[in-house]
Point group: C2
Chain length 154, copies 2
């Protein structure tokens, strides 16, 4: 794997794991071996990873079966703390490249190769929030995803 291409403020590899650890501990949660392993595996994916995918890989890595429910517990924790996002239209998860920094994420998922790219557009998601609030909704959490075909698969 290449070493750097440090772009604007995104982490990757060990750097990313460190950032995740910091964000989680800053939130008063523990950074356990299990959590580290699950995060590490999740971070290797460039497409949304299902809890079962992760469970399998972590099981291999540890030489001991890790049950899906353990993975779900930790993924939920990650999502709550912005270390990861759930991609609703894929029933799967992605590591967040900028833990601790919170956005309403927009995901583009390629129906052909399954890869996902992530864009932030706060004005766009802000408008989604506004529209929901105008309709009387509160505590809103936008889910903005786009299914389509990526440039590589075109």
């Amino acid at each position: 794997m290449a070493t750097h291409a440090h772009h604007h403020h995104e982490h990757q590899g060990h750097d990313l794991a460190d950032a995740a650890k910091s964000a989680l501990t800053a939130a008063g949660e523990q950074w356990t071996d299990m959590r580290a392993d699950i995060f590490a595996v999740l971070a290797t994916f460039d497409k949304p990873a299902s809890a079962y995918d992760i469970a399998d890989l972590v099981s291999q890595k540890r030489g001991k079966r890790v049950a899906p429910n353990s993975v779900y517990r930790i993924l939920d924790l990650f999502v709550s703390n912005n270390l990861a996002s759930r991609v609703e239209s894929a029933n799967a998860y992605l590591a967040n490249a900028h833990p601790g920094c919170l956005h309403d994420c927009i995901f583009l998922i390629c129906d052909s190769c399954g890869s996902a790219t992530h864009i932030d557009d706060d004005s766009l998601t802000g408008n989604v929030r506004k529209a929901a609030e105008a309709a009387g909704f509160s505590a809103v959490r936008p889910v903005v995803e786009v299914r389509g075909t990526c440039a590589d698969c075109d």
Copy 2:
């Protein structure tokens, strides 16, 4: 439930079923008893209905087990022809109040009561499409949903 509030151009009840039938036949598809039953059941819901919910109700209605499989097939057909929409964040389906008329729908789903409301905002979804296309995606299908708490549950 109130009786009317005929707003701009939405169908309901028998009227809606008729519109659905027209739209489907216009697309060269058949309007069978099974399809009519499934659509009728789907249209009774004011919250996203799972394929299994529908299967159960249609089974009752017909006095004969209808397998989820059959329901999925027909729901897929409905979705393809704009008679219904899939709500990704709920793994469930909603009848479309204006069959034949195509929009990128925005759904607001209440986490408390589960009800869903539907809004159209073509400029908003248009911007989502544009953002995806700017990122090199084609044949895009926006998924814009908002989880939150509705006014009634507030």
